[in-house]
């Protein structure tokens, strides 16, 4: 797909390789920090969402809560987002209909 965008397979591979090298170390650091932070913040929610639909509903509830600080809300949203996992973070179909 990337080669389709850049129009050159070797150039596309160079981008991918560079991106891979640039992200490995920071991502490992983020992952290790994330697991600790997520466990701690996850106690503020009864159940982590497992679908985009559940995520949107839960996210709005989190945003409205008065027992959390703004920082706690942001961390909780991030934990919910990571808990969804890759492949499950598309736009909710409830927001994606072709209409006026």
């Amino acid at each position: 797909m990337l080669s389709e965008i850049v129009g050159d397979a070797s150039l596309a591979q160079a981008y991918v390789d560079e991106e891979y090298l640039l992200t490995q170390e920071p991502m490992a650091k983020i992952d290790s920090e994330r697991s600790v932070g997520d466990n701690e913040i996850a106690k503020y929610i009864n159940k982590m969402p497992t679908t985009p639909e559940e995520f949107y509903a839960s996210a709005l509830e989190v945003g409205k809560r008065s027992d959390l600080t703004v920082e706690q809300k942001v961390r909780l949203l991030q934990a919910m987002y990571y808990a969804l996992g890759e492949g499950n973070r598309k736009v909710c179909t409830c927001r994606q209909t072709l209409s006026f």
């Binding site: 995520f55 709005l60 492949g87 973070r89």
Partner: protein
């Protein structure tokens, strides 16, 4: 879907009454300098790209000779999410776009449907037309409020502004990617036959 990359991108309130994050967006609707899209400045991209749902009307373009613009370049304050990325290919001519906008701003459903029919696009009904006209004039009003004295008749373009902490001067996001904000959402542009959504393999 998107979540804030950091609390520093939010206003002091943090979240609005509906529970959505309340972002402290850069001034001028996020443009470094907003320029009018005009018949004499035909700048609509061939392939548009938006990180977020298609109901939005701000997007960048897919560059031909480099990787897609990053969230830092687009000044987007979210955790990067490739699954939120959408692309659409322009299938209508630039003239078609300008004529569609003229019909909407003149509240001329008959002309709009003639244009749509000539391009094989399903016609709109009165309810559709009311919504199109309303969203068009909402855009014009918002452009006046956020950007000021600029001709927003056919939309605005420019580059994304830096995201700066106005108190400290610290740069959070660098901006610089091309940016377009149109009177119609991408969903509306697709429905009216100006763009077609492009499948992206992740």
């Amino acid at each position: 879907m998107h979540v804030p990359a950091d609390v520093k991108f939010l206003t002091d309130m943090g979240f609005d009454l509906s529970g959505r994050p309340d972002y402290n967006w850069p001034k001028r609707w996020g443009f470094k300098e907003a320029k009018p899209i005009q018949r004499t400045a035909k700048v609509l991209p061939i392939i548009l790209m938006r990180s977020g749902y298609l109901g939005g009307n701000t997007f960048t373009e897919l560059p031909a000779n480099r990787i897609p613009y990053t969230y830092d370049e687009m000044s987007l304050p979210f955790k990067p999410n490739v699954e939120a990325s959408h692309q659409a290919v322009r299938i209508g001519s630039i003239e078609f776009y300008f004529n569609i906008i003229d019909a909407i701003r003149n509240n001329d459903m008959e002309t709009l449907n003639v244009l749509l029919k000539s391009n094989g696009i399903e016609s709109v009904n009165e309810v559709d037309m009311t919504r199109l006209v309303a969203s068009y004039f909402d855009f014009v009003q918002k452009a006046k409020e956020l950007v000021g004295d600029v001709d927003a008749t056919y939309g605005l373009y420019g580059v994304a502004e830096k995201w700066i902490n106005e108190q400290t001067g610290e740069i959070y996001l660098n901006g610089g990617a091309p940016q377009y904000t149109l009177p119609l959402s991408i969903m509306q542009l697709i429905r009216l036959g100006i763009y077609r959504e492009k499948e992206i393999s992740q």
